[in-house]
Symmetry: C2
Subunit: 318 residues, 2 copies
Protein backbone atom coordinates (compact mmCIF):
# COMPACT_ATOMS: atom_id res chain seq x y z
CA UNK A 1 0.00 0.00 0.00
CA UNK A 2 0.97 3.67 -0.17
CA UNK A 3 1.53 5.65 3.05
CA UNK A 4 3.10 8.91 4.17
CA UNK A 5 6.56 8.61 5.69
CA UNK A 6 9.52 10.86 6.35
CA UNK A 7 12.08 10.54 3.54
CA UNK A 8 14.62 12.01 5.94
CA UNK A 9 13.89 11.28 9.61
CA UNK A 10 15.70 14.51 10.55
CA UNK A 11 13.47 16.67 8.34
CA UNK A 12 9.80 17.02 9.37
CA UNK A 13 9.06 18.55 5.94
CA UNK A 14 10.24 15.47 4.06
CA UNK A 15 6.85 13.74 4.39
CA UNK A 16 6.15 11.85 1.16
CA UNK A 17 3.93 9.10 -0.18
CA UNK A 18 5.93 5.86 -0.35
CA UNK A 19 5.24 2.16 -0.90
CA UNK A 20 5.11 0.14 2.32
CA UNK A 21 3.54 -3.05 3.75
CA UNK A 22 -0.18 -3.26 4.32
CA UNK A 23 -0.69 -3.68 8.11
CA UNK A 24 -1.24 -7.21 9.44
CA UNK A 25 -4.31 -7.66 11.61
CA UNK A 26 -4.06 -8.65 15.25
CA UNK A 27 -6.91 -10.34 17.06
CA UNK A 28 -9.89 -7.99 17.35
CA UNK A 29 -8.69 -5.62 14.63
CA UNK A 30 -10.31 -4.83 11.28
CA UNK A 31 -8.55 -3.62 8.15
CA UNK A 32 -9.98 -0.30 6.97
CA UNK A 33 -9.44 1.09 3.45
CA UNK A 34 -8.88 4.74 4.29
CA UNK A 35 -10.97 7.39 2.56
CA UNK A 36 -9.80 10.43 4.53
CA UNK A 37 -7.54 11.21 7.50
CA UNK A 38 -7.76 14.23 9.80
CA UNK A 39 -4.65 16.31 10.52
CA UNK A 40 -3.88 17.07 14.16
CA UNK A 41 -1.25 19.16 15.91
CA UNK A 42 0.02 15.92 17.43
CA UNK A 43 0.91 14.82 13.89
CA UNK A 44 3.23 17.83 13.50
CA UNK A 45 4.91 16.90 16.77
CA UNK A 46 5.32 13.31 15.64
CA UNK A 47 6.88 14.40 12.33
CA UNK A 48 9.39 16.34 14.45
CA UNK A 49 10.14 13.24 16.52
CA UNK A 50 8.46 14.61 19.66
CA UNK A 51 5.33 12.50 20.05
CA UNK A 52 6.28 8.87 19.45
CA UNK A 53 3.46 6.35 18.97
CA UNK A 54 2.65 4.20 22.01
CA UNK A 55 4.21 0.69 22.07
CA UNK A 56 2.60 -1.62 19.52
CA UNK A 57 1.02 1.18 17.47
CA UNK A 58 1.81 1.89 13.80
CA UNK A 59 4.68 4.31 13.31
CA UNK A 60 2.81 5.91 10.43
CA UNK A 61 1.37 9.32 11.37
CA UNK A 62 -2.39 9.85 11.71
CA UNK A 63 -4.76 9.77 14.71
CA UNK A 64 -8.15 9.61 12.99
CA UNK A 65 -9.63 8.50 9.70
CA UNK A 66 -12.73 7.30 7.93
CA UNK A 67 -13.12 4.54 5.40
CA UNK A 68 -14.60 1.19 4.52
CA UNK A 69 -13.98 -2.18 6.15
CA UNK A 70 -11.89 -4.28 3.78
CA UNK A 71 -11.21 -7.23 6.11
CA UNK A 72 -13.19 -7.77 9.33
CA UNK A 73 -10.53 -10.14 10.73
CA UNK A 74 -11.84 -12.06 13.76
CA UNK A 75 -14.63 -9.51 14.43
CA UNK A 76 -18.21 -9.93 13.30
CA UNK A 77 -18.08 -6.77 11.17
CA UNK A 78 -19.15 -6.64 7.52
CA UNK A 79 -16.94 -6.03 4.51
CA UNK A 80 -17.90 -2.68 2.98
CA UNK A 81 -19.19 -1.12 6.24
CA UNK A 82 -18.40 2.60 6.44
CA UNK A 83 -16.65 3.61 9.65
CA UNK A 84 -14.91 6.48 11.39
CA UNK A 85 -11.84 5.42 13.39
CA UNK A 86 -9.92 6.67 16.40
CA UNK A 87 -6.31 5.65 15.84
CA UNK A 88 -3.15 5.39 17.93
CA UNK A 89 -1.37 5.94 14.58
CA UNK A 90 -1.47 4.88 10.95
CA UNK A 91 -4.10 7.16 9.44
CA UNK A 92 -1.95 8.74 6.71
CA UNK A 93 -2.12 5.59 4.56
CA UNK A 94 -4.28 3.60 2.14
CA UNK A 95 -5.01 0.95 4.77
CA UNK A 96 -5.00 0.92 8.54
CA UNK A 97 -5.57 -1.79 11.18
CA UNK A 98 -8.10 -0.64 13.78
CA UNK A 99 -9.12 -2.32 17.07
CA UNK A 100 -12.88 -2.92 16.90
CA UNK A 101 -13.47 -0.76 20.00
CA UNK A 102 -12.15 2.26 18.10
CA UNK A 103 -14.67 2.03 15.24
CA UNK A 104 -17.51 4.52 15.17
CA UNK A 105 -20.47 4.85 12.81
CA UNK A 106 -20.53 7.72 10.32
CA UNK A 107 -22.72 10.46 11.84
CA UNK A 108 -25.99 10.83 9.95
CA UNK A 109 -25.71 13.19 6.98
CA UNK A 110 -21.89 13.21 7.13
CA UNK A 111 -19.66 12.41 4.16
CA UNK A 112 -16.68 10.14 4.85
CA UNK A 113 -14.38 13.17 4.61
CA UNK A 114 -16.45 15.13 7.11
CA UNK A 115 -16.48 12.17 9.47
CA UNK A 116 -12.67 11.97 9.41
CA UNK A 117 -12.53 15.58 10.65
CA UNK A 118 -14.41 15.08 13.93
CA UNK A 119 -13.20 11.83 15.50
CA UNK A 120 -10.12 12.97 17.42
CA UNK A 121 -11.68 16.28 18.49
CA UNK A 122 -14.94 14.66 19.60
CA UNK A 123 -13.21 11.92 21.59
CA UNK A 124 -10.69 14.31 23.16
CA UNK A 125 -13.21 16.98 24.05
CA UNK A 126 -15.90 14.60 25.31
CA UNK A 127 -13.50 12.47 27.38
CA UNK A 128 -12.13 15.58 29.09
CA UNK A 129 -15.08 17.94 29.38
CA UNK A 130 -17.90 15.41 29.53
CA UNK A 131 -16.53 12.25 31.14
CA UNK A 132 -13.84 13.75 33.40
CA UNK A 133 -14.83 17.32 34.20
CA UNK A 134 -18.57 16.72 33.95
CA UNK A 135 -19.31 20.19 32.57
CA UNK A 136 -22.78 21.27 33.60
CA UNK A 137 -25.39 23.84 32.79
CA UNK A 138 -24.55 27.24 34.21
CA UNK A 139 -20.81 26.61 34.53
CA UNK A 140 -18.18 28.76 32.86
CA UNK A 141 -15.62 26.99 30.69
CA UNK A 142 -12.47 28.57 29.26
CA UNK A 143 -11.19 27.02 26.03
CA UNK A 144 -7.72 28.04 24.93
CA UNK A 145 -7.13 28.15 21.19
CA UNK A 146 -10.84 28.35 20.48
CA UNK A 147 -10.41 28.50 16.70
CA UNK A 148 -8.29 25.33 16.43
CA UNK A 149 -9.42 21.78 15.66
CA UNK A 150 -10.04 20.98 19.31
CA UNK A 151 -11.28 24.48 20.13
CA UNK A 152 -14.00 24.73 17.46
CA UNK A 153 -15.43 21.43 18.66
CA UNK A 154 -15.11 22.23 22.36
CA UNK A 155 -16.97 25.54 22.07
CA UNK A 156 -19.95 23.85 20.47
CA UNK A 157 -20.01 20.93 22.90
CA UNK A 158 -19.89 23.24 25.91
CA UNK A 159 -22.76 25.33 24.55
CA UNK A 160 -24.76 22.12 24.14
CA UNK A 161 -24.02 21.29 27.78
CA UNK A 162 -25.41 24.69 28.77
CA UNK A 163 -22.13 26.33 29.79
CA UNK A 164 -20.95 29.89 29.34
CA UNK A 165 -17.91 29.68 27.06
CA UNK A 166 -14.82 31.88 27.18
CA UNK A 167 -12.13 31.45 24.52
CA UNK A 168 -8.68 32.70 23.69
CA UNK A 169 -7.34 33.06 20.16
CA UNK A 170 -4.65 35.06 18.41
CA UNK A 171 -6.64 37.23 15.98
CA UNK A 172 -9.92 39.08 15.59
CA UNK A 173 -10.88 36.80 12.67
CA UNK A 174 -10.38 33.67 14.74
CA UNK A 175 -12.34 35.19 17.61
CA UNK A 176 -15.16 35.99 15.19
CA UNK A 177 -15.29 32.30 14.20
CA UNK A 178 -15.45 31.38 17.89
CA UNK A 179 -18.31 33.82 18.36
CA UNK A 180 -20.21 32.26 15.45
CA UNK A 181 -19.78 28.84 17.05
CA UNK A 182 -21.33 30.15 20.25
CA UNK A 183 -18.46 31.50 22.41
CA UNK A 184 -19.65 34.14 24.88
CA UNK A 185 -16.40 35.73 26.07
CA UNK A 186 -13.72 36.43 23.46
CA UNK A 187 -10.12 37.14 24.46
CA UNK A 188 -7.29 37.97 22.08
CA UNK A 189 -4.32 36.52 23.95
CA UNK A 190 -1.92 38.75 22.03
CA UNK A 191 -3.58 41.88 23.43
CA UNK A 192 -5.10 40.86 26.77
CA UNK A 193 -4.16 38.87 29.88
CA UNK A 194 -7.04 36.41 30.00
CA UNK A 195 -6.67 36.02 33.77
CA UNK A 196 -7.46 39.72 34.24
CA UNK A 197 -10.77 39.18 32.46
CA UNK A 198 -11.62 35.85 34.04
CA UNK A 199 -10.10 35.98 37.53
CA UNK A 200 -11.92 33.51 39.81
CA UNK A 201 -14.68 32.86 37.27
CA UNK A 202 -13.92 29.60 35.46
CA UNK A 203 -15.26 26.23 36.60
CA UNK A 204 -13.30 24.34 33.97
CA UNK A 205 -10.38 25.24 31.70
CA UNK A 206 -9.38 23.14 28.70
CA UNK A 207 -5.73 24.08 28.23
CA UNK A 208 -3.36 23.34 25.35
CA UNK A 209 -0.54 25.65 26.45
CA UNK A 210 0.80 24.16 29.69
CA UNK A 211 3.66 25.82 31.57
CA UNK A 212 3.29 29.31 30.09
CA UNK A 213 -0.35 29.62 31.20
CA UNK A 214 -0.28 27.70 34.49
CA UNK A 215 -0.24 30.69 36.83
CA UNK A 216 -2.90 32.58 34.87
CA UNK A 217 -5.06 29.47 34.55
CA UNK A 218 -5.04 28.91 38.32
CA UNK A 219 -5.87 32.57 38.84
CA UNK A 220 -8.85 32.23 36.49
CA UNK A 221 -10.43 29.30 38.33
CA UNK A 222 -13.43 29.61 40.64
CA UNK A 223 -13.87 27.51 43.81
CA UNK A 224 -13.72 23.78 42.93
CA UNK A 225 -12.33 24.78 39.53
CA UNK A 226 -10.68 22.19 37.31
CA UNK A 227 -7.75 22.84 35.00
CA UNK A 228 -7.40 20.11 32.38
CA UNK A 229 -4.19 20.24 30.37
CA UNK A 230 -4.17 18.34 27.07
CA UNK A 231 -1.39 20.16 25.24
CA UNK A 232 1.97 21.66 26.18
CA UNK A 233 2.48 24.16 23.36
CA UNK A 234 3.85 26.62 25.95
CA UNK A 235 6.32 24.27 27.62
CA UNK A 236 6.31 21.62 30.33
CA UNK A 237 8.22 22.98 33.35
CA UNK A 238 7.27 25.95 35.50
CA UNK A 239 6.84 27.04 39.08
CA UNK A 240 3.59 26.17 40.82
CA UNK A 241 2.26 27.87 43.96
CA UNK A 242 0.47 25.00 45.71
CA UNK A 243 -0.87 27.51 48.22
CA UNK A 244 -3.17 28.75 45.44
CA UNK A 245 -4.86 25.34 45.21
CA UNK A 246 -6.00 24.69 48.78
CA UNK A 247 -8.45 27.45 49.74
CA UNK A 248 -10.38 27.20 46.46
CA UNK A 249 -9.98 23.40 46.18
CA UNK A 250 -8.54 23.66 42.67
CA UNK A 251 -7.39 20.69 40.65
CA UNK A 252 -4.85 20.38 37.85
CA UNK A 253 -5.04 17.34 35.65
CA UNK A 254 -3.25 16.28 32.48
CA UNK A 255 -4.51 13.75 29.96
CA UNK A 256 -3.68 12.20 26.60
CA UNK A 257 -6.09 10.11 24.64
CA UNK A 258 -3.36 8.35 22.71
CA UNK A 259 -1.72 6.90 25.83
CA UNK A 260 -4.92 5.26 27.06
CA UNK A 261 -5.16 1.47 27.00
CA UNK A 262 -7.22 -0.33 24.34
CA UNK A 263 -10.01 -0.73 26.91
CA UNK A 264 -9.73 2.94 27.88
CA UNK A 265 -9.99 4.06 24.25
CA UNK A 266 -12.95 1.75 23.66
CA UNK A 267 -14.69 3.29 26.68
CA UNK A 268 -14.11 6.82 25.38
CA UNK A 269 -15.27 5.88 21.88
CA UNK A 270 -18.46 4.22 23.15
CA UNK A 271 -19.32 7.16 25.40
CA UNK A 272 -18.59 9.64 22.59
CA UNK A 273 -20.85 7.77 20.16
CA UNK A 274 -23.57 7.61 22.79
CA UNK A 275 -23.46 11.24 23.89
CA UNK A 276 -21.92 13.25 21.07
CA UNK A 277 -22.88 11.47 17.84
CA UNK A 278 -26.57 12.45 18.21
CA UNK A 279 -25.46 16.10 18.39
CA UNK A 280 -23.56 15.67 15.12
CA UNK A 281 -26.38 13.82 13.38
CA UNK A 282 -28.86 16.61 14.01
CA UNK A 283 -26.24 19.36 13.49
CA UNK A 284 -26.33 20.82 17.00
CA UNK A 285 -22.57 20.50 16.59
CA UNK A 286 -21.13 21.09 13.13
CA UNK A 287 -17.81 20.06 11.62
CA UNK A 288 -15.46 22.81 10.64
CA UNK A 289 -13.17 21.87 7.74
CA UNK A 290 -10.70 24.57 6.76
CA UNK A 291 -9.20 22.71 3.80
CA UNK A 292 -9.13 19.30 2.12
CA UNK A 293 -5.90 18.16 0.45
CA UNK A 294 -4.78 14.95 -1.26
CA UNK A 295 -2.86 12.53 1.01
CA UNK A 296 0.28 13.11 -1.08
CA UNK A 297 0.22 16.74 0.13
CA UNK A 298 0.66 15.85 3.82
CA UNK A 299 3.78 18.05 4.05
CA UNK A 300 1.79 20.98 2.67
CA UNK A 301 -1.01 20.28 5.14
CA UNK A 302 1.46 20.32 8.03
CA UNK A 303 2.98 23.59 6.81
CA UNK A 304 -0.50 25.09 6.59
CA UNK A 305 -1.46 24.04 10.15
CA UNK A 306 1.91 25.26 11.39
CA UNK A 307 1.42 28.67 9.73
CA UNK A 308 -1.36 29.51 12.20
CA UNK A 309 -3.70 30.41 9.33
CA UNK A 310 -6.04 27.47 9.93
CA UNK A 311 -9.46 27.71 11.56
CA UNK A 312 -10.89 24.30 12.41
CA UNK A 313 -9.53 21.18 10.69
CA UNK A 314 -7.50 20.08 7.68
CA UNK A 315 -8.39 16.72 6.13
CA UNK A 316 -6.29 14.56 3.79
CA UNK A 317 -8.12 12.50 1.17
CA UNK A 318 -6.71 9.26 -0.22
Amino acid sequence: MKAIQLNNPEDPRSLALVETDTPKLRDGEVLVKVHAAGVNRGDLLQARGHYPPPPGASDIIGLECSGVIEDPGTTGRTIGEEVACLLAGGGYAEYVAVPEGQLMPIPEGYSLTEAASVVEAACTVWSNLGMLAGVQEGQTVLIHGGAGGIGTFAIQLCKQLGATVAVTAGSAEKLETCRELGADILINYREQDFSEELKGRCDVILDIIGAKYLRQNLRSLAADGQLIIIGLQGGVKTEINLGALLPRRLSVRGTTLRARSLAGKAEVVASTVEHVWPMLSDARITHHIHATLPLADAAKAHDLLDSGAVTGKIVLEV
Copy 2:
Protein backbone atom coordinates in the same frame (compact mmCIF):
# COMPACT_ATOMS: atom_id res chain seq x y z
CA MET B 1 -16.42 33.12 79.68
CA LYS B 2 -12.83 31.92 79.74
CA ALA B 3 -10.97 31.24 76.50
CA ILE B 4 -7.43 30.72 75.29
CA GLN B 5 -5.80 33.77 73.69
CA LEU B 6 -2.31 34.98 72.93
CA ASN B 7 -1.08 37.32 75.67
CA ASN B 8 1.46 38.60 73.19
CA PRO B 9 0.37 38.36 69.53
CA GLU B 10 4.05 38.07 68.51
CA ASP B 11 4.67 35.05 70.74
CA PRO B 12 2.91 31.78 69.80
CA ARG B 13 3.87 30.35 73.21
CA SER B 14 1.99 33.05 75.12
CA LEU B 15 -1.33 31.17 74.91
CA ALA B 16 -3.21 31.68 78.18
CA LEU B 17 -6.69 31.38 79.61
CA VAL B 18 -8.28 34.85 79.78
CA GLU B 19 -11.73 36.31 80.40
CA THR B 20 -13.57 37.27 77.19
CA ASP B 21 -17.12 37.71 75.84
CA THR B 22 -19.36 34.70 75.39
CA PRO B 23 -20.09 34.47 71.64
CA LYS B 24 -23.37 35.94 70.37
CA LEU B 25 -25.49 33.60 68.29
CA ARG B 26 -26.29 34.29 64.66
CA ASP B 27 -29.32 32.83 62.96
CA GLY B 28 -29.02 29.04 62.70
CA GLU B 29 -26.32 28.77 65.35
CA VAL B 30 -26.44 27.04 68.73
CA LEU B 31 -24.36 27.88 71.79
CA VAL B 32 -22.35 24.87 72.96
CA LYS B 33 -20.81 24.59 76.44
CA VAL B 34 -17.48 23.04 75.54
CA HIS B 35 -16.40 19.86 77.27
CA ALA B 36 -13.27 19.13 75.23
CA ALA B 37 -11.45 20.54 72.20
CA GLY B 38 -9.12 18.65 69.85
CA VAL B 39 -5.69 20.10 69.02
CA ASN B 40 -4.74 20.28 65.34
CA ARG B 41 -1.59 21.28 63.51
CA GLY B 42 -3.62 24.13 62.02
CA ASP B 43 -3.97 25.52 65.55
CA LEU B 44 -0.17 25.79 65.84
CA LEU B 45 -0.11 27.67 62.55
CA GLN B 46 -2.86 30.01 63.72
CA ALA B 47 -0.98 30.75 66.96
CA ARG B 48 1.96 31.73 64.75
CA GLY B 49 -0.28 34.06 62.73
CA HIS B 50 -0.14 31.87 59.59
CA TYR B 51 -3.63 30.41 59.31
CA PRO B 52 -6.11 33.22 59.93
CA PRO B 53 -9.76 32.24 60.53
CA PRO B 54 -12.08 32.72 57.53
CA PRO B 55 -14.14 35.96 57.48
CA GLY B 56 -16.88 35.92 60.11
CA ALA B 57 -15.36 33.08 62.17
CA SER B 58 -14.24 33.40 65.79
CA ASP B 59 -10.63 34.46 66.19
CA ILE B 60 -10.24 32.06 69.07
CA ILE B 61 -8.22 28.96 68.13
CA GLY B 62 -9.87 25.53 67.88
CA LEU B 63 -11.31 23.55 64.93
CA GLU B 64 -13.26 20.84 66.75
CA CYS B 65 -14.92 20.25 70.10
CA SER B 66 -17.57 18.34 71.96
CA GLY B 67 -20.03 19.59 74.55
CA VAL B 68 -23.59 20.22 75.49
CA ILE B 69 -26.11 22.57 73.89
CA GLU B 70 -26.64 25.52 76.25
CA ASP B 71 -28.78 27.68 73.96
CA PRO B 72 -30.43 26.28 70.80
CA GLY B 73 -30.96 29.78 69.36
CA THR B 74 -33.37 29.72 66.39
CA THR B 75 -32.81 25.99 65.76
CA GLY B 76 -35.09 23.24 67.00
CA ARG B 77 -32.33 21.63 69.07
CA THR B 78 -32.71 20.71 72.75
CA ILE B 79 -30.89 22.24 75.69
CA GLY B 80 -28.59 19.62 77.20
CA GLU B 81 -28.10 17.66 73.95
CA GLU B 82 -24.58 16.26 73.67
CA VAL B 83 -22.87 17.11 70.40
CA ALA B 84 -19.56 16.94 68.57
CA CYS B 85 -18.82 20.06 66.50
CA LEU B 86 -16.79 20.93 63.42
CA LEU B 87 -15.63 24.53 63.90
CA ALA B 88 -14.17 27.28 61.74
CA GLY B 89 -12.63 28.50 65.02
CA GLY B 90 -13.49 29.05 68.68
CA GLY B 91 -12.97 25.61 70.23
CA TYR B 92 -10.40 26.59 72.89
CA ALA B 93 -13.06 28.19 75.09
CA GLU B 94 -15.84 27.53 77.57
CA TYR B 95 -18.54 28.34 75.01
CA VAL B 96 -18.66 28.32 71.24
CA ALA B 97 -21.29 29.31 68.67
CA VAL B 98 -21.81 26.52 66.11
CA PRO B 99 -23.86 26.56 62.87
CA GLU B 100 -26.40 23.76 63.14
CA GLY B 101 -25.03 22.03 60.03
CA GLN B 102 -21.73 21.49 61.85
CA LEU B 103 -23.24 19.55 64.79
CA MET B 104 -22.73 15.82 64.90
CA PRO B 105 -24.02 13.20 67.32
CA ILE B 106 -21.57 11.59 69.77
CA PRO B 107 -20.55 8.23 68.26
CA GLU B 108 -21.99 5.32 70.24
CA GLY B 109 -19.79 4.29 73.14
CA TYR B 110 -17.67 7.47 72.89
CA SER B 111 -17.03 9.81 75.81
CA LEU B 112 -17.28 13.54 75.08
CA THR B 113 -13.49 13.79 75.23
CA GLU B 114 -13.07 10.94 72.75
CA ALA B 115 -15.63 12.53 70.44
CA ALA B 116 -13.67 15.80 70.41
CA SER B 117 -10.64 13.92 69.09
CA VAL B 118 -12.17 12.59 65.88
CA VAL B 119 -14.27 15.37 64.32
CA GLU B 120 -11.67 17.28 62.30
CA ALA B 121 -9.79 14.15 61.23
CA ALA B 122 -12.98 12.30 60.25
CA CYS B 123 -14.37 15.24 58.23
CA THR B 124 -11.03 16.01 56.57
CA VAL B 125 -10.20 12.41 55.71
CA TRP B 126 -13.70 11.47 54.55
CA SER B 127 -14.21 14.61 52.46
CA ASN B 128 -10.92 14.02 50.66
CA LEU B 129 -10.58 10.25 50.41
CA GLY B 130 -14.26 9.30 50.38
CA MET B 131 -16.17 12.16 48.78
CA LEU B 132 -13.50 13.56 46.43
CA ALA B 133 -11.09 10.74 45.60
CA GLY B 134 -13.65 7.95 45.96
CA VAL B 135 -11.10 5.44 47.30
CA GLN B 136 -12.15 1.93 46.33
CA GLU B 137 -11.42 -1.65 47.18
CA GLY B 138 -8.16 -2.84 45.69
CA GLN B 139 -6.64 0.62 45.28
CA THR B 140 -3.35 1.65 46.84
CA VAL B 141 -3.37 4.80 48.97
CA LEU B 142 -0.28 6.57 50.30
CA ILE B 143 -0.78 8.55 53.52
CA HIS B 144 2.01 10.89 54.52
CA GLY B 145 2.53 11.37 58.25
CA GLY B 146 0.67 8.16 59.05
CA ALA B 147 1.12 8.50 62.82
CA GLY B 148 -0.34 12.02 63.07
CA GLY B 149 -3.88 13.04 63.92
CA ILE B 150 -5.01 12.92 60.30
CA GLY B 151 -2.80 9.95 59.46
CA THR B 152 -4.01 7.58 62.20
CA PHE B 153 -7.58 8.18 61.09
CA ALA B 154 -6.83 7.97 57.36
CA ILE B 155 -5.08 4.59 57.65
CA GLN B 156 -8.09 3.05 59.35
CA LEU B 157 -10.64 4.57 56.97
CA CYS B 158 -8.71 3.37 53.91
CA LYS B 159 -8.50 -0.16 55.33
CA GLN B 160 -12.29 -0.05 55.85
CA LEU B 161 -12.66 0.98 52.20
CA GLY B 162 -10.63 -2.06 51.17
CA ALA B 163 -7.47 -0.27 50.05
CA THR B 164 -3.83 -1.23 50.42
CA VAL B 165 -2.28 1.47 52.62
CA ALA B 166 1.25 2.82 52.39
CA VAL B 167 2.44 5.35 54.98
CA THR B 168 5.41 7.54 55.71
CA ALA B 169 6.55 8.52 59.20
CA GLY B 170 9.74 9.67 60.86
CA SER B 171 10.52 6.86 63.29
CA ALA B 172 10.26 3.10 63.76
CA GLU B 173 7.90 3.60 66.72
CA LYS B 174 5.51 5.71 64.69
CA LEU B 175 5.63 3.20 61.85
CA GLU B 176 4.82 0.43 64.32
CA THR B 177 1.69 2.37 65.37
CA CYS B 178 0.75 2.69 61.69
CA ARG B 179 1.18 -1.04 61.25
CA GLU B 180 -1.08 -1.74 64.24
CA LEU B 181 -3.74 0.51 62.68
CA GLY B 182 -3.59 -1.56 59.49
CA ALA B 183 -0.95 0.04 57.26
CA ASP B 184 0.53 -2.43 54.78
CA ILE B 185 3.62 -0.61 53.49
CA LEU B 186 5.75 1.29 56.02
CA ILE B 187 8.29 3.89 54.92
CA ASN B 188 10.62 5.83 57.21
CA TYR B 189 10.99 9.08 55.28
CA ARG B 190 14.23 9.89 57.11
CA GLU B 191 15.87 6.76 55.70
CA GLN B 192 14.11 6.00 52.42
CA ASP B 193 12.89 7.84 49.32
CA PHE B 194 9.23 6.79 49.30
CA SER B 195 9.01 7.26 45.53
CA GLU B 196 11.65 4.58 45.04
CA GLU B 197 9.44 2.11 46.90
CA LEU B 198 6.14 3.23 45.40
CA LYS B 199 7.00 4.36 41.86
CA GLY B 200 3.88 4.16 39.67
CA ARG B 201 1.88 2.25 42.29
CA CYS B 202 -0.39 4.72 44.13
CA ASP B 203 -3.95 5.43 43.07
CA VAL B 204 -4.40 8.15 45.68
CA ILE B 205 -1.98 10.12 47.85
CA LEU B 206 -3.09 12.16 50.86
CA ASP B 207 -0.30 14.69 51.23
CA ILE B 208 0.47 17.13 54.06
CA ILE B 209 3.93 18.18 52.84
CA GLY B 210 3.32 20.08 49.58
CA ALA B 211 6.25 21.52 47.63
CA LYS B 212 9.00 19.31 49.06
CA TYR B 213 7.21 16.10 48.03
CA LEU B 214 5.55 17.15 44.76
CA ARG B 215 8.03 15.51 42.39
CA GLN B 216 8.19 12.28 44.39
CA ASN B 217 4.42 12.20 44.82
CA LEU B 218 3.86 12.47 41.05
CA ARG B 219 6.45 9.75 40.50
CA SER B 220 4.58 7.48 42.94
CA LEU B 221 1.22 7.75 41.18
CA ALA B 222 -0.23 5.05 38.94
CA ALA B 223 -2.32 5.79 35.82
CA ASP B 224 -5.33 7.97 36.75
CA GLY B 225 -3.63 8.64 40.10
CA GLN B 226 -4.83 11.49 42.30
CA LEU B 227 -2.62 13.60 44.53
CA ILE B 228 -4.64 15.43 47.18
CA ILE B 229 -2.71 18.07 49.10
CA ILE B 230 -4.19 19.17 52.43
CA GLY B 231 -1.08 20.52 54.15
CA LEU B 232 1.98 22.47 53.11
CA GLN B 233 4.43 21.58 55.88
CA GLY B 234 7.16 21.32 53.22
CA GLY B 235 6.51 24.65 51.51
CA VAL B 236 4.23 26.07 48.83
CA LYS B 237 6.32 26.86 45.74
CA THR B 238 8.21 24.40 43.59
CA GLU B 239 8.81 23.40 39.99
CA ILE B 240 6.25 21.14 38.35
CA ASN B 241 6.86 19.06 35.25
CA LEU B 242 3.44 19.13 33.57
CA GLY B 243 4.73 16.60 31.06
CA ALA B 244 4.56 14.03 33.89
CA LEU B 245 0.80 14.49 34.21
CA LEU B 246 -0.46 13.85 30.68
CA PRO B 247 0.47 10.27 29.74
CA ARG B 248 -0.73 8.83 33.09
CA ARG B 249 -3.68 11.27 33.41
CA LEU B 250 -2.56 12.38 36.87
CA SER B 251 -4.36 15.01 38.90
CA VAL B 252 -3.14 17.34 41.63
CA ARG B 253 -5.72 18.87 43.89
CA GLY B 254 -5.54 21.00 47.02
CA THR B 255 -8.30 21.36 49.60
CA THR B 256 -9.01 22.96 52.98
CA LEU B 257 -12.04 22.12 55.04
CA ARG B 258 -11.96 25.40 56.92
CA ALA B 259 -12.35 27.54 53.79
CA ARG B 260 -15.52 25.75 52.66
CA SER B 261 -18.80 27.64 52.78
CA LEU B 262 -21.36 26.95 55.53
CA ALA B 263 -23.29 24.81 53.05
CA GLY B 264 -20.10 23.02 52.02
CA LYS B 265 -19.21 22.22 55.62
CA ALA B 266 -22.75 21.02 56.33
CA GLU B 267 -22.52 18.69 53.33
CA VAL B 268 -19.22 17.24 54.56
CA VAL B 269 -20.55 16.84 58.10
CA ALA B 270 -23.71 15.07 56.94
CA SER B 271 -21.80 12.72 54.68
CA THR B 272 -19.25 11.98 57.42
CA VAL B 273 -21.98 11.17 59.94
CA GLU B 274 -23.69 8.96 57.37
CA HIS B 275 -20.63 7.03 56.22
CA VAL B 276 -18.02 7.24 58.98
CA TRP B 277 -19.97 7.45 62.26
CA PRO B 278 -21.19 3.84 61.96
CA MET B 279 -17.53 2.74 61.70
CA LEU B 280 -16.75 4.61 64.92
CA SER B 281 -19.80 3.30 66.76
CA ASP B 282 -18.85 -0.32 66.14
CA ALA B 283 -15.13 0.36 66.55
CA ARG B 284 -14.05 -0.58 63.03
CA ILE B 285 -12.22 2.76 63.34
CA THR B 286 -10.83 3.67 66.78
CA HIS B 287 -9.83 7.05 68.22
CA HIS B 288 -6.21 7.50 69.10
CA ILE B 289 -5.67 9.98 71.95
CA HIS B 290 -2.03 10.55 72.81
CA ALA B 291 -2.67 12.87 75.78
CA THR B 292 -5.44 14.83 77.50
CA LEU B 293 -4.56 18.18 79.10
CA PRO B 294 -6.58 20.90 80.82
CA LEU B 295 -7.60 23.80 78.55
CA ALA B 296 -5.33 26.14 80.52
CA ASP B 297 -2.37 24.06 79.27
CA ALA B 298 -2.97 24.88 75.60
CA ALA B 299 0.58 26.26 75.27
CA LYS B 300 1.97 23.00 76.64
CA ALA B 301 -0.24 21.02 74.25
CA HIS B 302 1.09 23.02 71.30
CA ASP B 303 4.68 22.48 72.45
CA LEU B 304 4.02 18.78 72.72
CA LEU B 305 2.52 18.51 69.21
CA ASP B 306 5.36 20.63 67.87
CA SER B 307 7.97 18.37 69.47
CA GLY B 308 7.11 15.55 67.06
CA ALA B 309 6.63 13.14 69.98
CA VAL B 310 2.87 12.80 69.48
CA THR B 311 1.15 9.80 67.93
CA GLY B 312 -2.52 10.45 67.19
CA LYS B 313 -4.31 13.35 68.92
CA ILE B 314 -4.02 15.69 71.89
CA VAL B 315 -7.29 16.81 73.51
CA LEU B 316 -7.86 19.78 75.83
CA GLU B 317 -10.52 19.43 78.51
CA VAL B 318 -12.40 22.41 79.91
